[in-house]
Amino acid sequence: MAMSKRKRAEYIRYAQYGILLVVVVLVAVLADWGQIQRAFFNVDIAKSMFPSVITVALKNTIIYTALGFGFGLALGLVLALMKLSSVAPYRWIATVYIEFFRGVPALLVFIGIYYGVPIAFQMQFPPLTTVMLALGGVGAAYMAETIRAGIQAVPKGQVEAARSLGMSQSRAMITIVIPQAFRIILPPLTNELILLTKDSSLIYILGLFREQYELTKFGRETLSRSPSLTPILIAGLCYLIITLPLGYLSRYLERRGTSGRKKVSA
């Protein structure tokens, strides 16, 4: 207690920078940098991946994700309304679906779809349809919960105000609740779009031809020809091209939403 709090705070700050320095030096010494450079940033391999990694792989990742998201959103909305329904069997079906698909790894679901759908229904879907069913089926479970929560998060007072003005239950739902729920669910929905983008890395299990490769498959394929980490790194960066902006969008929407709602309740 001989030194004032302000001085102590200053010393703590120096200590923090010191630790950082030590760690940086340690990592620098321990790692084999020449080897890392060769292994991670092989310029020739990187060059050989362009432009296909963009024109084929990234494009396909986006297409698959978009298809899955569209189908998942539609199915998710249906499931959400089923879960809020007054008809008990609807609620049960929705609950079983949601719980199952949220509790089981996507890879297992994809394998199940790969084996199960053709056997059960004796039909073969076109590849894009299968991708859409697989990704959308998994995404729907998440989106259903998001949509349901969004609808329930609209303050009860909003419905009460609408009904006290003479609106029917369904009119209030359409005019007042859904538009407000949509604003609430936009940020989590964006997050689910990110999850879906990442899950699209698993559809290699459905069997793909070269023009159908998405980023992960493309990266692995290049990797098997040239054991350097470069293809994986480039594939990873391509994912970030999609997911980083979506992440920022989601947080921006969330911030805007919260501040908006805070003002209302203040």
């Binding site: 790969y114 084996y115 053709p118 073969q124 793909l208 070269r210 054991p227």
Partner: protein
């Protein structure tokens, strides 16, 4: 006495794990290596067991993606001592790993749904041909794709591609004759309609420069072929004697 290396058996061959001969493979590749109950069995497994016996250790199977074997990554990461995965010796792979003497002759073959009337690559025009990732079959299929006008569909492992034939996701699958005949035997709604003379030979892979182990493997293979053990194992898994060695 031989110097005791780190993790060595009593033979002087250095091993990744002491007392164990770790085999990298990619499951399932029936009948070369596949699961039966709680064990991994097969032709390759029995052959490598001979090596293990000779070294006085037990074999342990390590299942890893096929591309990590052919690219040498598994060896570089010290995950296993050798790789026995129904793997054809190719010049490309020789650059990444060392191969033993050949122990099995293989050709490429075509598996289709029974009654599909696909008897040659030319019959696949406008259709889909399944392949397994990083196999010689994939290479063969790609090399002949332009001439025959089919699309190559790639799968991560053999069972996925075989199932794709049965579910109709692809019209045919190309892979080594040994595994496809085995599958057609088990699932009579499929058949092997043709073979392609590619004249391939399987070899056991080791890390580049691991001559001690490589010599040992070659010795054991040679001995087995001479004393009839190889024929016994061959008959066990393929139901007939080998035509050539």
């Amino acid at each position: 006495a031989t110097p005791v290396n780190q993790g060595a058996g009593d033979s002087g061959v250095p091993l990744v794990q002491s007392g164990k001969l770790v085999t990298c493979t990619h499951l399932s590749y029936k009948p070369f290596q596949f699961s039966e109950g709680d064990k991994t069995v097969g032709f390759d497994v029995d052959l490598v067991d001979l090596v293990a016996k000779d070294l006085g250790v037990t074999q342990q199977i390590f299942d890893t993606p096929f591309e990590t074997i052919t690219s040498g990554t598994s060896f570089n990461a010290n995950q296993c001592d050798l790789a026995a995965a129904g793997m054809t010796i190719t010049d490309e792979r020789k650059q990444a790993i060392d191969f033993s003497d050949p122990y099995f002759n293989a050709e490429q073959a075509l598996l289709v749904k029974k009654g599909s009337n696909i008897k040659a690559l030319a019959d696949l025009k406008g259709k889909k041909l399944g392949v397994q990732q990083d196999t010689t079959g994939e290479k063969y299929a790609n090399d002949n794709a332009a001439a025959n006008g089919y699309t190559v569909v790639q799968f991560e492992d053999l069972p996925l591609s075989e199932t794709a034939v049965r579910t109709g996701a692809v019209d045919a699958v190309i892979n080594d004759n040994g595994v496809l005949y085995d599958y057609a035997k088990e699932f009579p709604d499929t058949e092997v309609t043709t073979e392609f003379p590619t004249n391939e030979k399987y070899g056991i892979g080791v890390k580049k420069g691991n001559t001690a182990l490589l010599t040992k493997i070659n010795d054991v293979l040679k001995k087995a072929k001479e004393n009839g053990e190889y024929d016994k194992i061959y008959e066990k898994w393929f139901g007939k004697k080998p035509t050539s060695k």
